[in-house]
Subunit: 352 residues, 2 copies
């Protein structure tokens, strides 16, 4: 925790400082350490105050707040999703978040979370895959080669030892960019011309496409026995990636069922279709993969506790680091009840 | 709106800049201008997406998120309430907020809101009192002389022409501080030794105490006919200020009934007890004060649209002002989908 005695100050991690924090740590180490925090919080899942996100929908997109608390720390993330933003040179998704002390309600950290969300999503995917992917998996297909693809690739390399990638995107320039970005990071990469080609021989299939619609990125015939599907892209109502038949052949694992049933691939299934909460697998209460030919599916939509883990990790990382600024965010009058007097003293000071 | 072409930048108003913005405008003018924004948004009440606040309760307090949107702009406020905070030199309530563009989901402003909330609460109280207070009101009793008392006094002076104050607090030093803070601002002030004494001859009674309990700051015998009660302090479940009998003699006006029925004075009454939404009075759809001997009660708990108004006002005020910093909050890669590439380019840059 950054040391400050000034009660008005909240440490702030800008985009630039986040990049420096990641780079000075090393991206793969950052992902591994972050994954430990994610796993730790899944292990104490029941201590969290959980609610589905609070969404404000408009014609062009959605703005969401994702709060959670474990009774000691509280966090929330602000995140938007606006598919048309790329037309004006903006990101489809941007985010920032706050970590607070539950005892005082005072914020401990304000951080950019556009980059951090990509990292936490990838770290979470890899944590889950450790429990579900077939033994000895080395090849991953990545369908959708946009903003999150490289983070997914590196997390699976770092946590599972994946060293062969098969990339496909409907936009070949996206595939080429992903391949180029990952070129010197120790992965054997094959750019493919179709999803069919990409999934061939893959032990793990990651889908991380961005279209806001019910798409069928994967169809049933593409999915051989024994694979693990890491479905990341389908994450809001009306946005799915997998054909329903795949779901029916798979063992389905989810984060928080009330949210996933609305936002995930399983919005295609009846509300009472059996799924397994992933924290039960991580905690050892339930078995993940039970056989070599089982198809496992992580229907990932992203949950507030993962952002909590990410903010908690970054907050801890700042100890002894210079990757933050000090933000004068909280009014701190000499005398707590004298807010107006603070204004008067400022007036006297600036008039002097 | 502050001019910036940089998509990564969000204007930030720190506590210091908020003080300078208020002081350079003049506190009373600031309150009047802010009141205009509050009134404007009450007039288009039906265009707002309204939800009760999202609260995370703990033993020592609560952290709340208060989002709203009118389809063009979106805002949320983070606010905590921790009564024991004063023991460690912290504020009971601190807050900050964000205003965003609904079309892109991009934040337009991040601002401190501890000071701004005190201002918007006072401005809202005064806007409402314009419609409910007895004609020619000049004397206001202020029961509870803590952090919000001076703001209430100045808002009522500025918007209603109140020029006589009668102060009471169980802590005489609070009353003395409030009196001293307001000494040179054109008000005749009387420090009183009891609530009974303070309300004597008052046209308006403002209660703004801080105890988190069902208190009885005002009892029925203190309330003469024709007064307007501005009940600000009772604003969460289990926290009220008025004896139930007063409610039964009053015409009750509220902000957003689903929230007020849980948090306001009317939590003491049946769920279907008749109350009037204040926007209907402000818009002229319903009559506020109907007679000189009617007791009117504004059961104020604070609602998200008022924070929206405050952030919208501050955002407009920043045009041509220097009272803000530029925060590198949003990832803005040259190529929207190339988040990882941004990291690589930063690496190349810092290694160079």
């Amino acid at each position: 925790m950054p040391a400050t005695d000034q009660l008005n100050i909240v440490p702030f991690v800008s985009v630039e400082n986040m990049m420096d924090l990641v780079l000075s740590t090393g991206t793969e180490i950052f992902l591994r350490e972050l994954a430990d925090y994610v796993e730790e919080d899944f292990l104490r899942w029941e201590s969290f105050d959980k609610t589905a996100r609070v969404a404000s929908h408009s014609d062009d997109g959605v703005i969401e707040l994702m709060p959670t608390s474990n009774g000691t720390l509280y966090s929330f993330k602000y995140v938007n999703g606006h598919p048309k933003n790329t037309r004006s040179g903006r990101q489809t998704v941007t985010a920032f978040g706050v970590l607070s002390n539950v005892d005082s309600g005072y914020p401990l950290l304000l951080s950019e979370m556009t980059i951090l969300t990509a990292l936490r999503t990838a770290a979470t995917s890899a944590v889950v895959a450790k429990h579900l992917a077939p033994k000895g998996a080395r090849t991953m297909a990545v369908i959708g080669n946009g903003a999150q693809s490289e983070f997914q690739a590196l997390a699976f390399k770092s946590l599972l030892g994946i060293d062969r990638l098969r990339l496909y995107d409907i936009d070949p320039t996206a595939t080429e960019r992903c391949r180029r970005n990952l070129a010197e990071l120790g992965l054997t990469i094959e750019a493919c011309r179709s999803t069919e080609e990409a999934v061939e021989g893959a032990d793990i299939i990651t889908t991380v496409t961005a279209d806001k619609q019910n798409a069928t990125i994967l169809t049933d015939n593409m999915i051989g026995s024994g694979v693990h599907i890491n479905a990341v892209g389908g994450d809001c109502p009306g946005k799915t990636e997998l054909h329903r038949d795949i779901l029916l052949r798979s063992s389905i694992f989810v984060e928080y069922p009330p949210q996933t049933r609305v936002e995930g691939e399983i919005q295609q299934l009846p509300q009472d279709y059996p799924v397994t909460e992933i924290w039960r697998v991580i905690s050892g209460e339930q078995v993940g993969r039970q056989s070599a030919d089982q198809i496992t599916l992580f229907d990932s939509v992203g949950f507030a506790t993962e952002d909590f883990s990410a903010l908690r990790y970054v907050h801890d990382k700042l100890r002894g680091s210079e990757c933050f600024e000090e933000l004068d965010l909280l009014a701190d009058p000499d005398e707590p009840r004298d807010l107006f007097g603070m204004l008067l003293r400022r007036q006297a000071l600036t008039a002097a």
